[in-house]
Symmetry: C7
Subunit: 95 residues, 7 copies
């Protein structure tokens, strides 16, 4: 089963917090907006979204930082994923 | 009886959750925004919507993910349907 | 007496729910937004509305689906009508 | 004394409800937005309003339908008037 | 001391209500938005405001109608004035 | 230490209220939006702000009127300053 | 580990308040919006953000003033950082 996001949406899979901590990134933040590291597993085509041209800049395999409460959670083949808009991705993380 | 959606609207028919689970997709999510799998049964013409050009990218027969609380529910010939705007469709699901 | 709607407004007359049910359409939905079938009895000229070009796509005699709580109700010559904006019309229904 | 409305504003004078009823129009509606028949007594020049071109389509003497709670009430030479934006006028009524 | 309003702002001085009543204008209205007659004492240059071209159409000496609760009150050389945006001026009043 | 405001921001320093009163300006207003006189001590470059061209029209040394609750307060070398957007400045005051 | 901010985002590292005070800058302000001095450690590429061209004007190493409650906090290799949009940066501070 495959999820193909529409427009400027991106499917991401949360990376385990423990694994992240080893790499040096520990997430803090208020209860209101808690960021998290996730891996990009599918990227929408971009194009005209709400009448504005959106160019997709993240790619499959990127590790990204998003707000924990952004997007919509789904489970695909047993894996928890989240569908977010690219604009809700704060940064790409490199090792 | 036939429903012809206007503008960027799409008529979708919820797919049974049990059937979906077999294919590997189990839906989770907060009570606030619960996604669901649905099949597209009619697609509006797109065009200028709120002053912006909208191109329809979903087609009849597509399996799509939407928020459960998006759109307006109707029953056509005994079948429960929902009318959503294309922008409320998160992703297309392929087997 | 005649009502000539301005801009992108449309005058619609609610179709009896019983009559609709015969044709196979039974309306469901949350208390928040209950759709209904109505017949178009007058259509505004469209044109520039809020700075955006609006082209009228519904026509007199069309059966349409709208949210029950859209628009403003008036009674013309004893008939209950509603004035809605075309953008609040979800779909056209054909027998 | 004369009121000259600015921009896309229109000065209207409420028509007596009894007189209206004779012509066949009885107004209903929720307490939230009650429409009323009024006569246009002055029309602003239109032009660029909030950065958008507005063309005035109503004219002095027109009978119009507006929401009762639109606009600002003033009394001119003993007559109650209301200043509304043209976009708050729902329809023109003809006998 | 002189106040030079910026952008699309206008400095107005409330005209005594008693004086107004003689001329035939009595102000009514809900507690929420009470209109008042005022005299324009300074006019901003207009130009690009929030990215939109604004042309000033009121001039010093005009009697104008505004909502009582629009703008910011200041006292200049003992006189109470109000700074409003031109878009909050409903109409010009002529005797 | 020097503060260089970004975009359409302006650094202002509140002028003593007592001094202002001598010049004939006494400030009144609701608790909600209390205007105040301030001196401009730094001006941002303007340019494209939120996608719109902003031209700076105030300059260092200008006495300006703003809402008391606009902007963000900072203390620079013992002096209380406020950083506001130029659009929050109501007027320039001249003696 | 490296954080590469997307779009118009900037990664900043809060500068110790004690150190700042020595330089002459003491921060005040309401509990609602408390500004703080931070050092820029990474800058996004800018470009089209929400359909509008954004040019990045801050650079790595700049000391900037932001609202304390802007942005999302993360910890990178033991250092607390915050990801903000460039538009939330009020000013650059120079010694």
């Amino acid at each position: 089963m495959k999820i193909i996001p529409l427009a400027d949406r991106v499917v991401i899979k949360t990376v385990e917090v423990e694994e992240t901590t080893k790499g040096g990134l520990i997430l803090t933040g208020s209860a209101k907006e808690k960021p998290q590291v996730a891996e990009v597993i599918a990227v929408g085509p971009g194009g005209i979204v709400d009448g504005k041209e959106v160019k997709m800049t993240v790619k499959v395999g990127d590790k990204v930082l998003t707000s924990k409460y952004s997007g919509t959670e789904v489970k695909v083949d047993g894996e928890e994923c989240t569908i977010v808009r690219q604009g809700d991705i704060l940064a790409v993380v490199e090792d």
